[in-house]
C-alpha cells in the first residue's frame, strides 16, 4: 500500500498510509477505534476504493485485476460474521458456488480447520453462537482457497475461554495453507501472540511497524 488516503463523510479515515505485507506473514494492525483499520481492510479487497494512493498485489495495482477474481484471492472476513440464510453448509458452499468450484471435501476440511466439527454443517447458521459464527465465517473464507486473508477482529465477542483456541486454529490453518494474513485487533496481547509483525495505526496512518519481539507497548498506540 502506497500513500493510501480515504475520506468518508467528510472525515479523513486513511491519510497517506504506506505499508508492505510480506508473503506468508501474519501482520496485525493495532490502533484505537476510528484509526482506519477496518477501512484499510475494505480497501484491500475493494469493497471501497481509496481516494488516492495505490494498493498492489504481486506487484500489480489491484485496480487492474478483475474484482471478482481479486476477491477470490484476497478474502475479507468482516467483524460482524453475518450468516447468510440457510445451513452452515450453505454458507461455506456460497463462495464455492459463486466461483464454480464446489467441492464437498474442501467444505468439510474448511469447517474442521476453522475449529468446528462436520456435525455443524447441517445446523441453521443464523442460530449459532457468536463464536461459532466467527468460525463459520472463517471456514467460508477458507473454502474458496484464498491467498490472503483479511481478518477484522476475528475473536471479537468470543468467550475468553475459547479465544486462545480460535487464535490457535487460525495460526494452524494459516501455516498449513501458507496464507498471508492482515489481522485487525485492538488487543495488544493478541497481536503479540499471533503475529510476525505489528503495525501501529493512528489517525489513519502507520506510526510504526515492529516485529513482535521488538514491539513495545507505550500505552497510547
Amino acid at each position: 500500500m502506497e500513500h493510501v488516503g480515504k475520506t468518508l463523510q467528510n472525515t479523513k479515515i486513511l491519510d497517506d498510509l504506506s505499508l508492505t505485507v510480506e508473503p506468508g506473514e501474519i501482520l496485525t494492525l493495532v490502533g484505537p477505534s476510528g484509526s482506519g483499520k477496518t477501512t484499510l481492510l475494505r480497501c484491500v479487497n475493494r469493497l471501497i476504493d481509496p481516494d488516492n494512493g495505490t494498493i498492489r498485489y504481486n506487484d500489480r495495482d489491484i485496480k487492474e485485476l478483475p474484482v471478482v477474481s481479486l476477491r477470490k484471492q484476497i478474502v475479507l472476513v468482516p467483524q460482524d460474521s453475518f450468516m447468510l440464510p440457510g445451513t452452515v453448509h450453505d454458507n461455506i458452499a456460497y463462495g464455492q458456488n459463486i466461483h464454480g468450484c464446489y467441492d464437498e471435501n474442501i467444505i468439510k476440511q474448511s469447517i474442521i480447520d476453522a475449529g468446528l466439527t462436520e456435525s455443524f454443517l447441517d445446523k441453521n447458521a443464523e442460530k449459532l453462537s457468536g463464536g461459532e459464527k466467527k468460525r463459520v465465517s472463517l471456514a467460508r473464507a477458507l473454502a474458496i482457497h484464498p491467498k490472503i486473508l483479511l481478518l477484522d477482529e476475528p475473536t471479537n465477542g468470543i468467550d475468553p475461554k475459547v479465544l486462545l483456541n480460535v487464535e490457535e486454529n487460525i495460526i494452524q490453518f494459516v501455516r498449513k495453507r501458507d496464507l498471508t494474513v492482515l489481522w485487525v485487533t485492538h488487543n495488544i496481547d493478541q497481536a503479540k501472540r499471533v503475529s510476525n509483525r505489528i503495525a501501529n495505526l493512528k489517525d489513519g496512518t502507520i506510526l510504526n511497524v515492529q516485529t513482535t519481539h521488538e514491539f513495545e507497548w507505550d500505552g497510547a498506540y
Binding site: 474484482v67 471478482v68 453475518f82 456460497y94 459463486i98
Partner: protein, 262 residues
C-alpha cells in the same frame, strides 16, 4: 343514467362534502396528528388537478385532434409519475432514470395488450381513464418498490458486503433483496385483487355502473382491465429493481457511497 344533477348544483354538494373534511382536520389538529396542513394542501392540489383535467377532457372530447392531446396527456403522466416515484428514493442520484422507464414499460405493456385485445377501443373516452389507471398503478408499485428496495439494502448492507467479499457480483448479492422487494411491493395489488367487489368497487366498474352498464359486463370488463394492470405492475416492479442495480452498485461490484450515508 349518469349523475342526476348539473355541475352548478354539484358545487353545493361539494360544499356539504367539505364539512366532513373540516371535521377530520379539526380532529387531526386536536389529536396533534400534524397532518392537517398536508391534508388541506393535498385536497386543494388534487381537486385543482381534477378540475384542470376535466377542462382538458372537455376539450379532448370535442376536437378532431384528440390524438395529439392524448399523447401530451400520456407524456405528462410518464414524466409526473417518474418524478413522483423518484422522490421516494431521495438519496438515490437521478432516481428518475430508474422510475421513468419502469413506469413507462409497465403501463405501456398493459395499454398495448388492452388495445390489441380490443378491451380498449382507440377512442379518447377509453384511452384516457385506462391510461390513468395503468400509469397510476405502475407509479404506485414503482414507489413502493423503490422505497422498499432502498430500505432493504440499507438494513442488509452487512449481508450484501459479505456476499461481495466472497466474490459475488452485484447481481448475485442483490437478488434475494429484489425478490423480497417485488413480493412486498405487490402485496397491496394482490390484496386488492382478492377483495375486489367486497371492500370496494374498483374505478372502472364504478364508472360503468354509474353510466348504466349491465353489472355482469361491468364486472367482466373490470377483471380484464385489472389483470392487464396487475401484469403491467409486475413488469414495473421487475424493471425498477433491475435498473436500480446500476444506481446501487459501482462498476466494481461495490455498494455506492450514498448508501453508506443513509
Amino acid at each position: 343514467m349518469g349523475i342526476p344533477y348539473t355541475w352548478q348544483e354539484g358545487l353545493i354538494i361539494l360544499a356539504v362534502a367539505s364539512i366532513l373534511l373540516i371535521i377530520v382536520i379539526l380532529i387531526s389538529m386536536y389529536k396533534k396528528l400534524d397532518i392537517g396542513g398536508e391534508f388541506v394542501y393535498a385536497i386543494i392540489k388534487g381537486g385543482g388537478q381534477l378540475f384542470i383535467i376535466a377542462l382538458f377532457l372537455t376539450l379532448l372530447f370535442n376536437t378532431e385532434f384528440w390524438y395529439i392531446l392524448i399523447w401530451i396527456l400520456i407524456g405528462t403522466m410518464i414524466l409526473v409519475g417518474g418524478y413522483t416515484s423518484a422522490k421516494r428514493a431521495t438519496h438515490m442520484p437521478k432516481a428518475y432514470q430508474v422510475t421513468t422507464p419502469a413506469i413507462l414499460s409497465g403501463a405501456a405493456l398493459s395499454l398495448i395488450v388492452l388495445a390489441v385485445s380490443r378491451a380498449m377501443p382507440l377512442e379518447p373516452q377509453f384511452i384516457v381513464p385506462l391510461s390513468g389507471m395503468a400509469f397510476g398503478n405502475s407509479m404506485a408499485i414503482c414507489s413502493l418498490t423503490m422505497e422498499r428496495l432502498i430500505r432493504e439494502i440499507n438494513l442488509n448492507k452487512s449481508a450484501i458486503e459479505t456476499m461481495l467479499s466472497l466474490g459475488a457480483s452485484s447481481k448475485q448479492s442483490l437478488e434475494p433483496f429484489q425478490r423480497l422487494t417485488i413480493r412486498a411491493a405487490l402485496i397491496p395489488t394482490i390484496d386488492r385483487l382478492k377483495t375486489l367487489g367486497i371492500i370496494f368497487i374498483p374505478g372502472a366498474m364504478a364508472g360503468l355502473l354509474i353510466a348504466g352498464t349491465d353489472p355482469i359486463l361491468a364486472a367482466e370488463y373490470q377483471i380484464i382491465v385489472y389483470l392487464m394492470i396487475v401484469g403491467g405492475g409486475i413488469v414495473t416492479a421487475l424493471i425498477t429493481t433491475g435498473l436500480s442495480r446500476k444506481k446501487l452498485f459501482t462498476d466494481y461490484e461495490q455498494l455506492e457511497n450514498w448508501i453508506y450515508e443513509l
